[in-house]
Subunit: 314 residues, 2 copies
């Protein structure tokens, strides 16, 4: 059995042939014609699939289905992408169109954060678990939630907007304009802001000196902490506390087997997993009676989008 | 088809014969022998069921199953009550025992807040909905969550402890000892504290005068607000904001069709529903693209425990 996973991004569309073990047999990429008519974008994806199958020598008959991961607001059950900030989708019936263009009947779509969570649960950091919550730390905080092996999407797929839960009444302003949301404290963007604040307050610190030379990044603050810079240490400590609070909130609601972290910061591995594991074990409700919740970084990395999308049709 | 619902409380156990429409045909109650051996408590429940069937003239053969709602930590899948603060359950295999004592094979158990949410979803404020979140406002904040018609309980039923999500970093101390939890702001107990604080600060207010005479209650603050007392008005406004933040957090994660409020404060009906409906509609993420989420008070009231428990076996 083989599956196709499509990972739509603002710059490029990636397609891959995925096995039932989550391995990628072949990959192919095309540019995203982001401002074109939506039907043209979908035709490009159909052409990409044809090229991929031709190059990999896999016949269309072997393909069980096509799964699509897209940024933006997706109505999973209807197979429609409602809108996407950077791509010209507008109530685009993408599963219907792609089925028509490719002749492959079984096509499904979901939000990219959902696909990543499903992929990690089936083949990555959450392998073997039935209940997981994944926070993807990027410009915002994306959440993908798997309950009993199935994606939680809410009524009309409008749920799992879990970056927008209030963790600090009247606190920092979120990208959405509201105050105190998790995203305003725990996204990669928030970490950059926290680093820059610290640099302004402590221009003498190693952190400030390196940021001035190399520019701000998540990696730099972990590096400086490693080198003994106290300012960097305090930024990391505070950021991990925010992230820990978000994880514990989700743990208390879902009590999943695994809490998964995605996004660039997850490359820090044990630097973030160890303190967060301690924080979660200490703060989750009823921890003394219940099994430990594992904290882990995403493992599928660059292939997460393709594999996760393919999981939609497995 | 008939079902039995058992509502275990610290003082009494209520049993009822429930129809498939959620109507109660007959009820019977016995005292909870809270400090006795757990097997004795379960035997009492078996006797209660026998008495109930005899009095109501319903034969055991007509009963599809027995559902049990219990306070405390319940491991639904195993049919075990792990512990309960006020009743002597300790890893009690209640479904196995009750099946043995009654001869009725199909017995299920869940936490009482879960049962209430399931009952309201099938026959009460959430009737017709597939996704609901219910907050029960009492000593704490209980959460019952229904996803796609099924209770969300988390790994080993340890989830849905949703009163313990942080909404205010480092804020008010919760009953569990941690800081800033929803429960410390939105439970009935929290409202009492907020009223008493206001009374201390404004002894001249109508609210303070009535509380001094009649004692503190949730009803009194709504009554005083109705009579034009500004202090009461500000307490209510602030409390509803806290509650609103909790509701919006759940709305952003689950995007349910209905958010349901239970507990004594839900008797305030439109006094709380109207402002909370406005707050939720204004603050939920993506409200402009998505269907409106209804806010409603629980409707099953005193029978919620029995009907909700019976829903476990429907």
């Amino acid at each position: 059995m083989k599956y196709i996973g499509i990972d739509i991004g603002g710059m490029s569309v990636k397609a891959g042939v995925v096995t039932e073990d989550g391995a990628i047999l072949a990959k192919k990429t095309c540019e995203t014609n982001a401002n074109a008519e939506d039907t043209i974008i979908v035709r490009d994806i159909a052409d990409l699939i044809d090229g991929l199958l031709e190059e990999s020598g896999v016949s269309k008959d072997e393909i069980v289905g096509v799964g699509i991961g897209s940024p933006g607001s997706v109505y999973d059950e209807k197979g429609v992408i409602r809108y996407s900030c950077n791509i010209n989708f507008k109530n685009t019936p993408i599963t219907k169109l792609l089925a028509e263009y490719t002749g492959i009947k079984n096509v499904k779509v979901s939000n990219d954060a959902n696909c990543a969570a499903l992929g990690e649960t089936m083949f990555g950091a959450g392998k073997g678990a039935k209940n997981t919550v994944m926070l993807t730390l990027g410009t915002g905080v994306g959440t993908g939630i798997v309950v009993d092996g199935k994606l939680l999407t809410g009524n009309r797929s409008a749920g799992a907007e879990g970056g927008h839960i209030t963790i600090n009444l009247g606190g920092a302003t979120c990208g959405c304009g509201k105050k105190g949301h998790l995203e305003a404290y725990a996204s990669a963007t928030a970490l950059m802001n926290q680093i820059q604040d610290a640099c302004r307050k402590h221009p003498e610190s190693l952190l400030a000196q390196r940021v001035a030379k190399e520019g701000v990044s998540g990696k730099i603050v972990f590096d400086c902490k490693e080198q003994g810079d106290k300012v960097a240490e305090s930024v990391v400590k505070r950021y991990l506390k925010y992230l820990g609070i978000g994880l514990v909130n989700y743990a208390n609601i879902f009590y999943p087997e695994v809490l998964i972290l995605g996004g660039g910061i997850s490359n820090q591995g044990d630097n973030i997993v160890k303190p967060l594991q301690r924080y979660v074990s200490r703060n989750v409700y009823g921890a003394e009676y219940n099994p430990k919740i594992k904290v882990a970084c995403a493992t599928l990395k660059n292939d997460a989008g393709i594999v996760g999308a393919a999981c939609l049709v497995m």
